[in-house]
């Protein structure tokens, strides 16, 4: 198959241990800074309220970051797939159908059409 990785098993284990450790650090940090005994500052509580919405919006942009409307295929696979996901979701409100359908459509578009 294409592009096999050239890391040894030990290197791969270190690679993923690092990722696991940093992920844990990020998830535990807020709980270490604001322990149970102390009341959380009002500003931090406010952030906890508004940020989730903003962050999911940011993630959508992040996932589509490599799509360029200026050169071929003009972000068309992404546009078509995103629109289909929105329609599927509105139509059936079924996560599996929207995700599965959107992904299969995108794979078809980038592998066969564009």
């Amino acid at each position: 198959m294409i592009d096999r990785i050239t890391m040894s098993t030990a290197e791969s284990l270190i690679f993923f241990s690092l990722i696991a450790a940093v992920t844990m650090f990020v998830r535990f940090l807020p709980f270490l800074i604001f322990p149970e005994k102390k009341e959380t500052p009002k500003y931090v509580q406010y952030l906890g309220l508004v940020l989730p919405y903003a962050i999911i919006g940011m993630l959508v942009v992040y996932c589509l970051k490599n799509a360029s409307p200026l050169s071929y295929p003009f972000a068309l696979p992404e546009l078509i797939s995103v629109a289909s996901i929105a329609l599927l979701q509105k139509w059936r409100n079924n996560m599996l159908l929207s995700i599965g359908g959107g992904t299969l459509l995108y794979m078809f578009l980038v592998q066969v059409i564009f």
Partner: protein, 238 residues
Amino acid sequence: MAATPGNIRKKALKAAFPYTIPVLTGFFVLGLAFGILMSSKGYGFFWPTLVSIVVFAGSMQFVAVGMMAGGLEPLSIILMTLMVNARHLFYGLSMLEKYRGTGWMKPYLIFGLCDETYSILCSTEPAEDVDKNWFMFFVTLLNQIYWVAGSTVGSFIGMAIPFNTTGIDFALTALFIVIFLTQWQSLKGRPSALIGILCALACRLIFGPDGFLIPAMLCILLTVTVLRQPLEKRYDRS
């Protein structure tokens, strides 16, 4: 039914399971995609399973597979993980109150606080006769089980049928779009959601595709801080 520890657990599991059904489907597809992708790079068998148990951070796992071609570069791995997972800081901040007093479960609840578990737990209160701590524990555990199971099945499919996986990581994009659309239905979150999209778009245009996540997060933080008064009113009303 007597309130024995066994019954309390069973009741919490029964209450938790329905909430995780959308994640069951989404995570199984995504986990499958991850398993297939990783075994297509020559990392089959136990690799996807192990990574999904220990790392358990969907988007970072996909990014990691992309980074493996660059070899073991500790600094760039650490920075990339920080950037991709920084949003979990925000999840932690908003679960500080809910996770109060969860005792021995707390480390696992924090460890397993992924996007989907977060989106269920921050929007759901179990019925009064259901133990809240066990409920949160089972939502977290079930979601991780789906993810690990998907990865494992995917690794075997990937090894058995070598097929063209180009575009399969779009499953992740699809998941975030679906969560975004679900959140969009709740009116109070719309201004924050728009702030997220616009800050990210602006920073993507200015900083290019590879370095815009941190500037975008700072931009979001700044904007919601400046707009605190009007935004906060919106949450008080609903």
